[in-house]
Symmetry: C2
Subunit: 300 residues, 2 copies
């Protein structure tokens, strides 16, 4: 009996338990972090916004010049059959395009590599554990490290180059904070490891425009705001404005809308999740149940 | 019969053919590019400057907070037994520390991961093929992409975050050039994919001080210069100075000293490798035969 409880993977057309899914130590996906990926979640047995994730993944692949030899239908089939086989209902489902290895050993030309697609699914991941969010989660503004500028690595193509986030996480953990957000070199708020950040001031929500991944959950939050008549701005967010906000929250497919009660020494809402974040969080889970945004998975 | 001609790997204490060496698709070494590595070469059956590479690797591991549970002697033994088993004499030998996966699934804390060491060896790699170097190799100065700043990712800890190099290589290949060098945001020359760069002006060599890996081959070049009385400066190298230099060359453990005859539209030395680079290249190969810098490998 194969144990699928920990997850499954789709590797070159074969579905295997996630622990058996591996890539070669000389694959440029690893040795040059030459990878594009995306993460779609499933909720109660259906993908949420699968087409939007596949579309962003395809755009990222084009910008990074990855040709994996599969069209959207083939990738969608791979993801669907993989999750179905796992039997898991609430999941974190990752699709990856990796550069592979050169056709001619010793080549240093990425265009001479054989790109490949793979995918893996594990039980749903929360970027901050729900019990910590309920108690009041904290974010550290990194002091010694800045977000990699977009003219070095394209932040809009979801990538694995987390060196700045990892250094920031070490800072945050040492300071006793749950997670970290990075500033750009102009002192504007960008994003954190696996999430976008929003500030709420006078009932209006603001999130960064540049130097960030255009998160699908961020998009969902902005669409919810439009639907319920909450004003939203996508523009530079100076760190001073973040510190003076009424509320702060994160958006991530790993948890939806996550209220934050503390940034550095600043406490928001007397340490209790704010009303705007709480409302958006509840609506986010409602949206994951909307049929028009779901792709149901045919389990055996 | 195991075919070792393509290389070998040391994975968790076992030596396997390199094609069988893999890491898990959920390892943070891959998914967060949370990896430190180093490359030592062997020449005619002996490591060149093995202790220097191990020392730099250890310093990088400390700065990145990797504890792989092995001391220098154990890592040296792993590399030695791996190369001996491969039977290969002239090699590119990579040692890697990867973050691994969290002890508790779902954790987002790098300190809760189980780091691990592995290594692999393949036949010697040239960053530019020798026949191209002999004909006159060319370097493109990237226009659309800049080197990741050191306050985002520590350039002195050898890492796999090559997104900027890969984007630069695409530019270079499209323009018909062999490889690429990146500038920092101040317009100074930094480094390229797998090499440092030197400019020679009036018999004096100059290489960048900041935003670069302190290459062991770069160090060897500086030591050779000191021994033979060639003046050398380690400081900011503005791109204008590069374009006005008499000669340009690269240093890399993947090829030693590589003369360059063209940078963008600028031709150096009428398209023929320059005398300083040629002399340093020959001396580099002499140095790889110096017993004091070698660790001989006990093949069976």
């Amino acid at each position: 009996m194969t144990d699928w409880a920990k997850g499954a993977a789709w590797m070159a057309g074969e579905i295997v338990p996630v622990a058996e899914a591996k890539i070669g130590v000389t694959d440029w996906g690893l040795t040059h972090s030459d990878v594009i990926y995306d993460v779609v979640t499933t909720h109660k047995g259906g993908f949420f916004r699968l087409e939007d994730h596949l579309e962003r993944f395809e755009v990222s692949m084009v910008s990074g010049r990855f040709d994996v030899g599969m069209d959207r239908a083939a990738m969608s089939d791979a993801l669907t059959s993989m999750v179905a086989r796992s039997g898991l209902r609430d999941t974190y489902c990752s699709m990856v395009a990796a550069r592979g290895v050169p056709m001619i050993p010793g080549s240093r030309d990425p265009l001479e590599c054989v790109c490949h697609f793979y995918a893996w699914v594990v039980p749903y991941v929360h970027v901050i554990r729900p019990e910590i969010v309920a108690q009041g989660a904290s974010v550290w503004v990194a002091k010694d490290v800045r977000r990699i500028p977009a003219d070095c690595v394209n932040s809009r193509a979801k990538n694995y180059q987390w060196g700045d986030f990892t250094a920031g996480l070490f800072e945050a953990k040492e300071a006793g904070f749950e997670t970290v957000v990075l500033l750009d070199h102009a002192g504007n708020v960008t994003e954190g490891p696996g999430f976008n950040l929003f500030a709420v001031s006078g009932g209006k929500v603001v999130t960064a425009d540049l130097g960030v991944l255009e998160g699908i959950t961020r998009r969902t939050v902005l669409q919810i705001c439009a639907e319920i008549g909450v004003a939203a701005e996508v523009r530079a967010l100076p760190v001073a404005e973040l510190m003076q906000a009424d509320e702060v929250f994160l958006s991530s497919s790993g948890g939806g809308v996550l209220p934050i009660v503390r940034v550095d020494d600043r406490i928001y809402g007397n340490g209790v999740p704010g009303p705007v974040a709480e409302r958006l969080s509840a609506l986010y889970w409602d949206w994951t149940r909307r049929a028009a945004l779901r792709t149901e998975i045919p389990y055996d």
